[in-house]
């Protein structure tokens, strides 16, 4: 159509009268261009919306000290401004019918994150700009990120060790040193928990199952197992003691924080993850903290019902599931495509199958989820349990949603993508190439492995990447076949056989759904959901762009090679 543009341009661009211009229909062309503009604006808008909201979350924003008056009562708070908007008087009056002061025509309202959920709830509150009496940005306000109760805002007034006040030249330095100390103790405890205790529990469970297995086989000789169990329990007691000692050390220090209203609250340093003074930090220091927060987001476990902390298990689960899925889908997809294109006799039947395969790509993903739950989990998983894990019954091992079933379901969901893409690649290889190979004496298998497949590799790769991109974004079927909001353990750990295919796992997409819609404190969780959504979008866009570039590049090479 590009060539016709030149022709049409000359016709339409002659100066016309306004009426003539309208009659020619050109205004309607403008309208169609607006449709494209709307689509483009929507794409860009969506991505920038995610980027702005998701990335801003990690920036150590300044903490204000605000004093406001409502219903005659004065309140003094510290807080971060997290949103501001204007609303009409009417809307304002509907929301606050008993408001007692004159209301301006438009009311500016601020959403303030006040933190201190334990001492001063709620941790988010709406303020009206005209209620505010005084606001300032005090230099020495401390923000403390904690393992429970969310952030705390206040002024650091003292540090106690076992309840005794600690004298110190530089309170802030002292505080930081003690945070570091607890952090290292916490790491030790975590290492014991994750390494030894989990390992022992896992072995104890295997012993229990082994006992049960012997009972089922009518063997009543357990002395070896009981000896081992006793040894494990002894080890367990030792480690438990260590953990107990460490925990006592951990709980040694508390920090005293003065809240905005003058109250002093004691915060155990064992719950402190990090602390900073945003108002007196330089931009560079802030940037450093920003990068650290970003890194923590990617590598930390979630806290407080997933509304704080990182997304590491979800990221890990998503990647592992997708890897397993591609290991399953690629060979099968390629084999099916080879069969359809190279081996099957071309005719109406193969054509029919081709249409069917094509259509399967359009079948809703939830249907695959239903199939996966019924067929993989209940039928196949149930049978595996009956055959190989009778000792664990009635608790299911494979007969319950898990990683392997999720990967299989998604493999089935994406196999049409790989088949279609590979077939496209195979069609594009000229007959002459195949015939040349055969004429030189190669067998059909050799032709396929040494000539056809290498030439089709760009298409196979494209298909695989598109399949991965689709699988990474799917949530609906996973809700039925293996994703949970909080998995106690990762599917890979140090216990034999290391990769636990039957375990349930976490997933970024489901994380978004769960935290955004099931969590009690939506205001607190929202920035994290935006960040998670941004992460998922980035992964998928990168995968798609890789697919597109790869296809273009390899296609170019391929074209050269046959000319």
């Amino acid at each position: 159509m590009a060539t016709s543009d030149a022709v049409s341009q000359d016709l339409s661009l002659q100066r016309q009268s306004l009426l003539g211009w309208w009659r020619s229909g050109d205004p309607w062309i403008w309208l169609t261009s607006a449709a494209v503009a709307a689509s483009v604006a929507a794409v860009l808008g969506l991505i920038s919306l995610l980027a702005i909201n998701g990335l801003a979350h990690f920036w150590p924003s300044q903490v204000m000290s605000i004093e406001y008056e409502r219903f005659g009562a004065k309140t003094h708070i510290f807080g971060e401004l997290s949103e501001r908007e204007s609303i009409g008087r009417r809307q304002f009056m509907e929301a606050n019918p008993s408001y007692d002061k004159p209301v301006p025509a438009t009311v500016e309202r601020w959403l303030i994150k006040t933190g201190n959920r334990q001492a001063n709830p709620p941790d988010f509150r709406w303020l009206f700009a005209h209620d505010v009496i005084a606001s300032s940005v005090p230099q020495d306000v401390v923000v403390i990120e904690r393992t429970e109760w969310g952030d705390a805002f206040g002024l650091l007034v003292g540090i106690k060790q076992k309840g005794e006040i600690v004298e110190s030249e530089d309170l802030w330095e002292e505080f930081q040193a003690r945070i570091e100390r607890t952090a290292s103790i916490r790491e030790e405890i975590d290492a014991l928990q994750e390494g030894s205790i989990n390992g022992i529990n896992y072995e104890l469970e295997s012993i229990r199952l082994e006992k049960r297995r012997r009972q089922l086989d009518d063997i009543h000789e357990f002395s070896d197992l009981e000896a081992k169990e006793e040894r494990l329990r002894a080890d367990y007691a030792v480690i438990e003691r260590q953990v107990f000692d460490l925990t006592t050390q951990l709980e040694r220090d508390t920090a005293s924080l003065a809240l905005a209203d003058g109250r002093i609250t004691d915060i155990p340093i064992s719950t402190v993850i990090q602390a900073w003074m945003p108002n007196s930090m330089s931009v560079w220091r802030k940037l450093g903290l920003y990068c650290k927060n970003l890194w923590n987001f990617l590598t930390d476990d979630p806290r407080e019902a997933n509304t704080e902390g990182g997304v590491y298990p979800a990221l890990f689960g998503t990647v592992l599931m997708v890897l397993l899925m591609s290991a399953l889908v690629t060979p099968f997809g390629v084999i099916a495509a080879l069969y359809l294109r190279e081996y099957a006799k071309q005719g109406p039947f193969v054509q029919l199958i081709r249409i069917a395969v094509n259509n399967l790509a359009g079948v809703p993903s939830i249907v695959y989820g239903v199939f996966g739950l019924g067929f993989f989990v209940y039928a196949i998983g149930g049978s595996i349990d009956d055959l190989f894990f009778p000792e664990a019954k009635p608790a299911p091992t494979f007969g319950t949603p898990g990683l392997i079933w999720a990967s299989l379901t998604l493999a089935l969901l994406t196999v049409p993508v790989v088949i279609v893409s590979t077939e496209e690649g195979l069609t594009r290889i000229p007959r002459a190439v195949r015939e040349g190979s055969l004429a030189l004496g190669a067998t059909k298998a050799e032709t396929i492995f040494k000539v056809v497949l290498p030439m089709a590799s760009p298409s196979i790769l494209t298909g695989m990447i598109l399949a991965v991109a689709r699988a990474a974004g799917e949530v609906a079927p996973l809700m039925l076949v293996g994703v949970v909001k909080l998995a106690p353990t990762l599917p890979i750990d140090g216990n034999f056989p290391y990769l636990h295919l039957e375990r349930k796992f976490m997933h970024l997409g489901f994380h978004i759904y769960d935290v955004g819609f099931q969590s009690p404190n939506v205001d607190a969780a929202r920035p994290l959901v935006f960040a998670t959504a941004l992460l998922l979008v980035l992964i998928i866009i990168v995968l798609n762009l890789t697919a597109i570039t790869l296809r273009n590049r390899l296609e170019a090479r391929f074209r050269v090679s046959i000319n």
């Binding site: 661009l13 309208w22 483009v40 604006a41 084999i335 359009g362 997409g509 759904y513 959901v529 959504a533």
Partner: protein, 729 residues
């Protein structure tokens, strides 16, 4: 072949070749079989829904004692319990009927034994001195040396204390809630004695009853407690007259309805309350069984006839299932008919030898026990999914407690006596409603966008725009759903006026701008030709911003201040924050790339000579587009829309997150819906494997599968035809 000097192929190579062919053949067929398997498996799970019901004689033993008062069994029918008039509770093997255990509860003979409503394990027995005592039968599975044994226990309740009924008590009934115990006794003169023990635990003694007497007409009545003990049914067995008495408290009973079950002046021949006692089944001499259900009306809750089933001979005995709304009706020819109320189905029938004195279903309704003069018979029933019929899935059904027949989806509840409502119609309606609004939003934008991109956009820009929009197709829908539900929905609610006006303002604004732009010097015009879309972006954003900014003044102008209130008052439209408008926009965005991409391909593929010919004949660009290009490409656009529709129908996460998921049937743009896909996602994880609910969810998946498969196939065929046509043009 031998004429050529071909190198000999080694055996190894030959073998590899054969093996490869075999492996690829087998693998290919396996993958394709797996794909077919999906459909087959869904069918296979659904199939039992349509399995016929059967009832067969299982055992028949002679049993001489004639004083059996009640028959029960454990859950899996491994043991049968007989409560006898001699004060014994017998446990017998269900097939051989050998005595396995007996509990001698009382030396004094018993007159009646009834199951305390609504329990399934507690009996109230009345002895000859009219004292009522209570005991519970429990069955416990134990493993002794790895062998499964079933243990029976009979424990007295209320520390074996009794309640003394008046000596002239004809009939009594007992209701038990978590805290309270209510007893009603009908005396010879017809009056009803109500007694209540408040906050009485199973191991408390029965003391300090609150008692009250209600006057009621004399006659041969039967008196029963109704749902939650708050009603009393007093039914005359000779005339069919009945009183419905509301008992909010024992001291303030009130007759709310006095009427008759009689038909054509003839008294009914049998009564039986259905599970939960929200309904009574009334059998008639004409062979009709009518279900009367407590339904709301202007004067409060009253009995209304809600459905009837016709049998050939007078119905003499009725018995209802313990966990579902099914029943068995025995007619004068001793033929027993199995039937189900909700689905209005008569399932099967079998001939009994004689009219049974007692007729009891096992808890799972897979066995039926009959007791007549000297023998006990057991029947095996295969009847897993009686709730399903064409009408109960797709039609209006008059459920218990409803004013009229309705379409309703309500699959589960906390109550065990709940009547499941499995109408797929509201969900199908919701599915189509969501897809419809999404298409209304998506089609104009996607098709117009495709038209512009294929026809008028400069190649440089097209190389960016097309993949850009296609990447949107890969955007996870969970993100669109999240943004729609948590970000867009509140904005739309706050700026409803502007959002609605955008539909008018944006095109007009665009045309206005275009008119001004057309007055630009032709140099600028020709330089920018093909880049209109890029210029349109800021214009569009500007007009949207302006409209949103002036929301309040616009609302004052058009909707006297507030669009939501105005719509509710003037049009009666209710507003949900997460509604079809939000779905339309969010799901519209999800299907735009699909429609855009396919439609653009179709339009771009229109042969050039057609366009050139048209332009050469003097048609303007727009005329050429409408009369030549679009006409030729219309099948392709049609197929794009079909595929987009298929995607919208099956989309799960957006609907799940951006609507309230209430299964209502209302086309209102400002209310939500529940779709098949969202419903599956919500209910499947909680559904018990192989239950009726589970299979219906599979049926939904199959319906979705068929809808999308059909649309996609039609689209595919249309596209293939178009390809051939382009080739021939």
């Amino acid at each position: 072949m031998t004429a050529y000097n071909l190198p000999k192929i080694s055996n190894r190579r030959r073998l590899t070749n054969t093996i490869t062919a075999k492996v690829i053949g087998a693998g290919g067929v396996a993958v394709i079989a797996a794909i077919v398997l999906i459909m087959g498996y869904l069918f296979w799970v659904i199939l039992p829904i349509f399995a016929p019901t059967s009832i067969d004689v299982l055992d028949n033993v002679s049993y001489q004692p004639e004083d059996v008062l009640a028959i029960g069994s454990d859950d899996s029918f491994e043991i049968v319990t007989l409560v006898r008039g001699n004060g014994h509770v017998e446990f017998r093997n269900p097939s051989t009927f050998e005595l396995e255990n007996v509990a001698e509860m009382s030396a004094m003979p018993w007159r009646d034994a009834i199951l305390v409503f609504p329990t399934t394990d507690t009996y109230a027995v009345r002895d000859t001195s009219n004292e009522v005592r209570f005991f519970r039968i429990s069955h416990q599975v134990r493993y002794i040396d790895n062998t499964r044994t079933l243990e029976q226990r009979v424990e007295p309740v209320f520390v074996n204390t009794t309640y003394q009924l008046p000596q002239d008590t004809a009939d009594f009934d007992v209701y038990r809630s978590d805290e309270d115990l209510r007893i009603v006794a009908r005396r010879q003169d017809g009056s009803l004695l109500l007694a209540e023990f408040e906050e009485v635990d199973d191991d408390f003694e029965l003391e300090f009853p609150i008692e009250n007497t209600i006057e009621a007409p004399p006659g041969r009545y039967r008196t029963l407690f109704g749902p939650r003990g708050r009603f009393l049914f007093n039914v005359n067995e000779q005339t069919g007259d009945f009183q419905l008495i509301l008992v909010p408290s024992v001291l303030r009973p009130r007759v709310v309805q006095s009427s008759s079950f009689a038909e054509d002046g003839k008294a009914p021949t049998a009564f039986e309350p259905l599970l939960g006692r929200y309904s009574i089944l009334v059998g008639h001499d004409s062979g009709v069984v009518r279900q009367w259900s407590l339904s709301p009306s202007e004067i409060g809750t009253v009995f209304k006839p809600i459905r009837s089933m016709d049998f050939d001979a007078p119905i003499l005995t009725l018995a209802s299932e313990q966990r579902r709304k099914g029943f068995v009706a025995v007619d004068a020819n001793n033929t027993a008919h199995l039937a189900y109320t909700t689905s209005n189905r008569v399932l099967t029938s079998i001939d009994f030898d004689a009219m049974p004195k007692l007729l009891v279903f096992s808890p799972r309704a897979d066995r039926l026990v009959t007791y007549q003069a000297d023998q006990i018979q057991t029947y095996a029933i295969q009847n897993a999914h009686p709730e399903i019929s064409w009408n109960s899935l797709w039609g209006k059904v008059w459920y218990e407690g409803y004013e009229e027949p309705v379409f309703s989806w309500q699959s589960s509840s906390a109550d065990t006596d709940f009547e499941a409502k499995f109408s797929l119609t509201p969900l199908l309606f919701g599915t189509l409603k969501a897809a419809f609004y999404a298409m209304i939003f998506a089609i104009p934008i996607a098709v117009a966008g495709a038209v512009y991109t294929a026809n008028f956009m400069s190649p440089g820009m097209r190389a960016w725009v097309k993949p850009g929009i296609e990447i949107m197709a890969a955007l996870p829908t969970v993100i669109l759903g999240f943004l729609a539900g948590l970000w867009l929905a509140p904005i739309v609610e706050d700026h409803l006026t502007s959002v609605l006006l955008c539909v008018i303002v944006l095109p007009i604004g665009m045309l206005l701008f275009a008119t001004l732009w057309s007055r630009m010097p032709s140099k600028v015009l020709s330089a920018c030709d093909g880049w209109f879309a890029a210029i349109a972006v800021p214009v569009l954003v500007f007009f949207t911003w302006i409209t949103l900014e002036f929301d309040q003044p616009l609302a004052n102008l058009f909707f006297s201040g507030d669009a939501k209130t105005w719509m509710y008052e003037k049009l009666g439209l209710e507003y949900d924050q997460r509604n079809a408008l939000i779905i339309g926009i969010a799901m519209g965005l999800a299907v735009i790339p699909t429609i855009f991409s396919i439609a653009e391909d179709a339009i771009y593929g229109v042969p050039q000579h057609l366009v050139h010919g048209s332009l050469a004949l003097g048609a303007t660009r727009w005329q050429t587009l409408v009369r030549v290009v679009l006409l030729t490409a219309s099948p392709g656009i049609f197929s794009a829309i079909m595929i987009g529709f298929g995607r919208a129908v099956g989309e799960t996460m957006i609907v799940l997150m951006a609507t309230g998921n209430t299964p209502i049937m209302d086309l209102n743009l400002f209310q939500g819906m529940r779709t098949f896909a969202a419903n599956i996602a919500v209910e499947m994880p909680e559904s018990e494997a192989n239950s009726t609910h589970f299979r219906i969810l599979f049926l939904m998946a199959l319906v979705l599968f068929f809808i999308t498969f059909m649309f996609n196939t039609v689209a595919e065929i249309v596209r293939n035809r178009l390809r051939t046509r382009y080739g021939n043009l």
